[in-house]
């Protein structure tokens, strides 16, 4: 059978176009519906994790003000907040949500190459979320040993949720990994094989490069989590001792002994560090497109941006043990991983310079997506620089397990990706719904979120310098911490409640705007990429009407001298270029 590229096949959707409500919105195989299902589920669990963080903050800022927050619940809230935010919100929303929505539209295909697998991916994801949430209702409650689930603590009796809650957590992670693998194979294959005519690899928008590389990272990194989850599950349920060392419990020698807890840490962080970039790389890609569009300039150093994404992806597998400087591993390891950690800062810094240089002398439109994108540059530089502190063994040792670490990773992989998510949600909202959001409300939302998160995390750095330990339910006899630290903690809590409340503006905005008349403007931003050139807004099933688009140029033809408008869409041939492949030259 001769191979026919997907783009040249007849419209495959004519055969299974959905007719009923169920096939259209529930068991849908349309990538746009699946994207919204993924996104909705992720935001829903994200809100639960946000609520847990507020409860934690209430305990820290105003100790014992809520009587039912006991130490066990506090640890469970810490654990579930971390795990949900990192895996079930950020990974799922960037790759399952934006990956699903943007890959076929930006590459110019009608759908993913395996639509059924794509649907299955979402349902497995939903199942994993349900299993995770079910752990709130089992005896002993959900897992409570921190999101890193370090053995032996996490499965030792006496740790909150070390029984059923932990088991459900591990099962849920395994199901999530199956879901991610199904989705990931789909994203990579679609990007490699199904791009439309003229869409060469280097004409792909940076969003696609970010999502592509992050998916490849995920496919390589999640098996490490699967291996550690399976082995930890064996230790928990079947009484093996992969990770369990000899321990004394209540004066009795444990039956499991001889295992290696540090093996678990290596396996976990071999997943855990690439996971940071699984979240960050799609954010880098999306924010690049938002910045270029609203600065009306081509992205500065496109090729450098692509290679930086790939370099960061490769290096991210060589830095994992910088999370383990205080674990008692060989000091030479620490030296090696500190070096690789500092090296990974180079491509990352290149990207930051290129964003700033894209803004330089641009015709900047300070609308809501652009504000969030610029806010991201601030928070990312901030969190990235503290990362250089912590990447050095000698500085990390005193700062490890203090609030400095909490401030660092929330700045760099909490606030920064979330700002990009908002930038992207506002930016693509008109395409997803056919309606414009309320600009004023969006801007208020931005300033509350941006300034509010600084009010939360900037003081945490100082708490860290004071030596305030993280993950403590309350301060005990810690004389080295001055009493003013408590005042700072109370302020942080107030700021956190303020920021959490401000997110209501986002939901009011998107739901109120849904009730408006359809504006039906296909390309409100004057963007060049293919998703803005669809015949219908929001795009119909199959995306492109009878004929697929043809791509004649790269994704960043903004403000081209001599052009009629300040942007030229990717599928615009241009009079002089119609037939032949043309080199523009450097005149």
């Amino acid at each position: 059978m001769a191979y026919v590229p997907l783009a040249d096949q007849d419209d495959p959707h004519a055969l299974h176009d959905p007719h009923s409500f169920i096939t259209k919105y529930v068991w849908s195989q349309d990538h746009k519906v699946i994207a919204i299902q993924y996104g909705g589920t992720a935001i829903f669990v994200g809100l639960i994790a946000l609520g847990l963080s507020i409860l934690m903050r209430l305990q820290l800022g105003f100790p014992d003000s809520i009587s039912w927050i006991d130490p066990a619940f506090y640890y469970q809230a810490v654990t579930m907040h971390g795990m949900i935010m990192v895996v079930y919100l950020l990974t799922a929303l960037f790759l399952g949500g934006f990956g699903n929505y943007l890959i076929p539209l930006m590459c110019g295909t009608r759908d993913m190459v395996f639509p059924f697998l794509n649907m299955l991916s979402f349902w497995f994801y939903l199942l994993s979320v349900i299993i995770l949430l079910a752990s709130f209702f089992v005896t002993g409650g959900p897992a409570g040993a921190g999101w890193t689930l370090y053995a032996p603590q996490s499965i030792t009796a006496g740790t909150p949720g070390s029984g059923g809650g932990m088991l459900l957590m591990l099962i849920s992670l395994a199901v999530f990994i199956v879901a991610f693998t199904m989705g990931g194979l789909n994203y990579v294959t679609t990007i490699l094989q199904a791009r439309t005519r003229g869409m060469t690899l280097m004409r792909m928008p940076l969003s696609i490069w970010g999502i592509f590389t992050a998916t490849v990272l995920g496919l390589f990194a999640f098996p490490a989590l699967l291996v550690s989850a399976i082995m930890l599950g064996f230790d928990l349920v079947l009484g093996t001792s992969f990770f369990m060392p000899a321990m004394m419990q209540l004066g009795e020698q444990s039956t499991q002994d001889g295992g290696s807890p540090i093996l678990f840490q290596h396996l976990f962080w071999f997943f855990g560090h690439p996971e940071v970039y699984i979240v960050a790389l799609p954010a880098f890609g999306l924010v690049s497109d938002v910045i270029a569009t609203h600065a009306r300039k081509n992205i500065f150093g496109y090729r450098m941006m692509v290679w930086a994404i790939i370099a960061i992806g490769g290096l991210s597998f060589l830095v994992w043990a910088h999370h383990m400087y205080v674990s008692g591993m060989n000091p030479y390891f620490g030296f090696f991983f500190a070096t690789t950690t500092l090296i990974i800062a180079v491509p990352t810094a290149l990207k930051v310079y290129n964003w700033v240089l894209t803004l330089w002398q641009g015709n900047i439109r300070l609308n809501t997506p652009m504000l969030f994108a610029i806010g991201f540059i601030f928070t990312f530089v901030h969190g990235g620089l503290t990362g250089l502190f912590l990447g050095n063994v000698i500085i990390d040792v005193p700062l490890a397990d203090t609030y400095f670490v909490v401030a660092h990773f929330h700045m760099v992989m909490g606030v920064s990706p979330v700002l990009v998510l908002y930038a992207a949600l506002y930016h693509w909202y008109p395409k997803m719904t056919g309606r414009m959001y309320n600009e004023t409300m969006g801007k208020v939302h931005f300033w509350c979120t941006f300034l509010g998160t600084y009010a939360i995390y900037l003081p945490m750095h100082y708490l860290g310098f004071l030596g305030v330990p993280r993950r403590y339910y309350e301060m005990g006899n810690t004389d080295f911490v001055p009493a003013t630290a408590q005042a700072l903690n109370a302020n942080i809590t107030i700021a956190a409640i303020f920021v959490a409340t401000a997110q209501v503006l986002f939901f009011i905005n998107i739901f109120m705007s849904l009730r408006k008349e359809k504006d039906a403007v296909g390309n409100p931003w004057g963007a060049t990429t293919l998703e803005w050139q669809t015949p219908d807004t929001p795009p119909k099933h199959g995306n492109w009407g009878p004929e697929l688009p043809t791509v004649y140029r790269w994704a960043y033809d903004y403000s081209v001298p001599g052009a009629k408008q300040d942007f030229i869409p990717q599928n615009e041939p241009g009079e002089e270029y119609e037939k032949t492949f043309h080199t523009r030259g450097h005149s």
Binding site: L192, P223, G259, F581
Partner: protein, 210 residues
């Protein structure tokens, strides 16, 4: 355009259509084959990590490692798995010669036999487990045993996944699917079985030398 030229071009310099009008996938093979190769890479990562954990548990554990004495059944099972791969390869060769592929044709029957032999392999692994348990090598008693059950179990699970695809392919063949589709199914299954055979060689080596 070669992959190297594609990723080194200066996209801002070029307007128009490179290499004519037809759409170009990155690799000139069916999408299913790309996805299978990707999955095999992911599975390689999984088995590598399990193997690394195996050696690290020996190195970093408390010296409690007591090697398993592998039952002789494993040699028989290895032979069966080699036979699976060989029969499937034969089926693929037949499928490439045949115009139409039916379940009752040579290719179809060999394909069926390959899957059935896999079931024999799985039964053989189960028998090996029973022998070990009978000999007192229980899951809890030693990490070497635990790893033995874990590694062989994960390998069998991968074969079971392959058998699921195999079953679907059989159903399609018996309901008279397009010959091209059936040939692709047979090819993908054969590749996957060869891969799992190589994994088994690796695992068998690791398990029997430590």
């Amino acid at each position: 355009m070669s992959l190297y030229r594609q990723v080194t071009e200066k996209p801002w310099d070029q307007v128009g259509l490179p290499d004519g009008i037809e759409a170009r996938p990155t690799f000139q093979v069916p999408d299913q084959k790309v996805a299978l190769v990707l999955f095999v890479i992911v599975a390689c990562v999984l088995f590598s990590l399990l193997t690394v954990s195996y050696y690290l548990r020996i190195a970093w554990g408390a010296g409690d490692w007591v090697p398993v004495s592998e039952p002789a059944t494993l040699w028989v099972n290895t032979g069966v798995l080699v036979a699976c791969s060989a029969v499937l390869q034969w089926s693929l060769i037949q499928a490439r010669r045949q115009e139409a592929i039916r379940l009752t044709s040579m290719a179809g029957l060999l394909f069926l036999a390959g899957g059935l032999l896999t079931l024999v392999f799985i039964a053989g692994q189960y028998a090996a487990w029973q022998t070990l348990i009978g000999g007192g090598y229980t899951l809890q008693s030693n990490p070497a045993n635990a790893f033995f059950y874990l590694l062989t179990g994960v390998h069998v699970l991968h074969l079971a996944g392959g058998l699921w695809v195999w079953t679907k392919a059989l159903f399609r063949m018996s309901s008279g699917a397009d010959a091209g589709d059936s040939r692709l199914s047979i090819e993908l299954c054969t590749w996957y079985w060869h891969f799992l055979l190589l994994v088994w060689f690796g695992l068998f080596y690791v398990l029997s030398t430590t």
